[in-house]
Symmetry: C2
Subunit: 406 residues, 2 copies
Amino acid sequence: MSQPFRIGLLGRGTVGGAFATLLADRADDVANVTGLRPEITGVLRRSEGDFPTVLDNADLVVELIGGLEPAREYVLAAMRAGKHVVTANKQLLAEHGEELWAAAREHGVQLRFEAAVGGVVPVVRVLQESLAAAHVERLHGIVNGTTNFILSRMAETGAEYADALAEAQRLGYAEADPTDDVTGKDAAAKMAILARLAFDTPVSLSEVPYEGIEHLTADDLQYARDLGLGLKLIGTAERVDGGLSVRVHPAFLYGAHPLAGINGPFNAVTIESPAITEITLSGPGAGGPQTASAVLGDVVSAMIPPASTPEPSQRLTLVTDVKSSFYLHVEVADEPGVLAQIAQILGLQGVSVKSFVQKGMGGDARLVMVVHPVLESKLFAAVEMIAGLEFVRTRPRAIRVIDEEF
Amino acid sequence: MSQPFRIGLLGRGTVGGAFATLLADRADDVANVTGLRPEITGVLRRSEGDFPTVLDNADLVVELIGGLEPAREYVLAAMRAGKHVVTANKQLLAEHGEELWAAAREHGVQLRFEAAVGGVVPVVRVLQESLAAAHVERLHGIVNGTTNFILSRMAETGAEYADALAEAQRLGYAEADPTDDVTGKDAAAKMAILARLAFDTPVSLSEVPYEGIEHLTADDLQYARDLGLGLKLIGTAERVDGGLSVRVHPAFLYGAHPLAGINGPFNAVTIESPAITEITLSGPGAGGPQTASAVLGDVVSAMIPPASTPEPSQRLTLVTDVKSSFYLHVEVADEPGVLAQIAQILGLQGVSVKSFVQKGMGGDARLVMVVHPVLESKLFAAVEMIAGLEFVRTRPRAIRVIDEEF
């Protein structure tokens, strides 16, 4: 039986609830990886618990209250008591980051906040660790999933802003009061944090000018398409003339830009640096389960030694014959009965054709088809049999297809 | 003056040379971040140095010899001596990973190997830390930049394999003997490592079936395009019927797949898990400077406490007026002289038009243009002046354009 690792949970709204569920679900795996079994030993919310008791019973505090106070006071108190803290509170970090990071250094504890920026996209970790001493030149981010969903819908359907916002609200991608998202303020807070990490210079929310998407029209999106551009709400932090510019505004992106293809409620960040050219990280933006997953990643990271590769806890059987969809290309003499024989062989092996094209080439014909997922051994057996047919001109070509619907 | 942090460098080929250069260049920044000044205190290569002396004088050993022996022996000896190790040696980890990770755990040292997989794409870190206790369902990777470059060129130019390979060799993206890359063996070693980390089960290179790109033809790429598919060398690790399948082969991808748009000498990995949907990480594949950058990231990570946000070492001026390219949309009465007045205002503010479209709308006209990068204050001043013109029907719309050539 693993020793317990005690977590004090501050706040139990959507994300707090999703975190509690996820933690219960993953506790065995966390115990395998860390040797400690995480459990929530105290919860503080309006109707439940008191902070000193929650703190006393915790090895680590997860702060999901949001807002500035009392979140700031609790996080500081936890670190002063020598506890690690994991928080998803972007506003707190964008306004009081320096004070909190200084407290973490002073008390020798970890203050982790991956969930505060970019949903499950691990951009905080990459900036703090992989790129800790890199010379970052520019960072571009789509750091608000709500606005990216709205703009994607406007582009796809020609809807006006108000209709796309209403759809986002129906689907749970936008809150009843979407102000912080659609004005760009939420993105500005995240950009303040990312700019601080990437450029090693203090940046607070009040220093980040932002512009939202409320004034964009279906026409703007239509023009974007006509010009071969995508329209996104983009956060930018970049060196300019020896200084730093941090800002959020809608922007047209050329189709080849790594962020141009990020659609729906997704986040993505591109980091440019001379030594690495550019890295792009993308994934779902904030949402209860996604944010909870980022919080859990931070909790587990605080429990394990750095760069640890724990002993494998299992030995999954390595499967050698799997189902794949295939593209098949067969060159044959253009004679009667050819297709029937090939179809019969495919049928015998349980290979089912999804799409098919035949092209004439003088006296020969080229058959190109995509087949539904089938055990590879069956497909290769069919290819061997087809290769042996008299009227087949060259060895059939079989290439796997990774089908998005599969 | 910062205390020194002593690095023993094993091997000084392309990557070793690039690492030494990068380290010298970044030493001040590393000292700012870590409080320690990294320096190479010993080098071992065929013509220089002996291992015991290099080891004695090092706090951390960087292994860039490659191959199995003596790399394995040196890495083990370093860890037994209590030194952290950073390595880019995928072959070593794919064949002796369990032994090495066990030694790291036993001796309480870090064994970091981001540079062994995926170039600068921080996939090792994300799997080891962000997703340490996540239930990964599937991982797809483009983990070999050489083959991705060759396939991209075949797709773009219609070139045959041999010609695209020759071009890759000329540009330094393929080695004189490209066997390990083009047969898929290099990718298989990387997939063995990633599968071990993602699925917590031992996987060695010999257990990963692989198929290369040597037999692909320009025709296959042409068909891919006709079918709306991209053709890539894909590594897959996925749960299948309670077991695990790990394999490397060429595969067609639908256009919407996150890896379909990864072109040129790039690497990318998509990780799928129920709690997070999917994360995609992309960046340049192996190359001297990129690999050196990944090695430096690992070295710095070994020097700093986990999740540390060091005190800012500078205070860059926040620049508020920056140059941007803009899209401008003006609705005007369709009268003589209108365009001249607008052009004059733009010229006065130094705004230069890059492209321009005019559409008639009854008695009105809609002017849409994209302008070259200009200080935003100048552009907004021009917009204010244009808005005040008598013949302008609605407030002009100005939206920034992030220009790839800018």
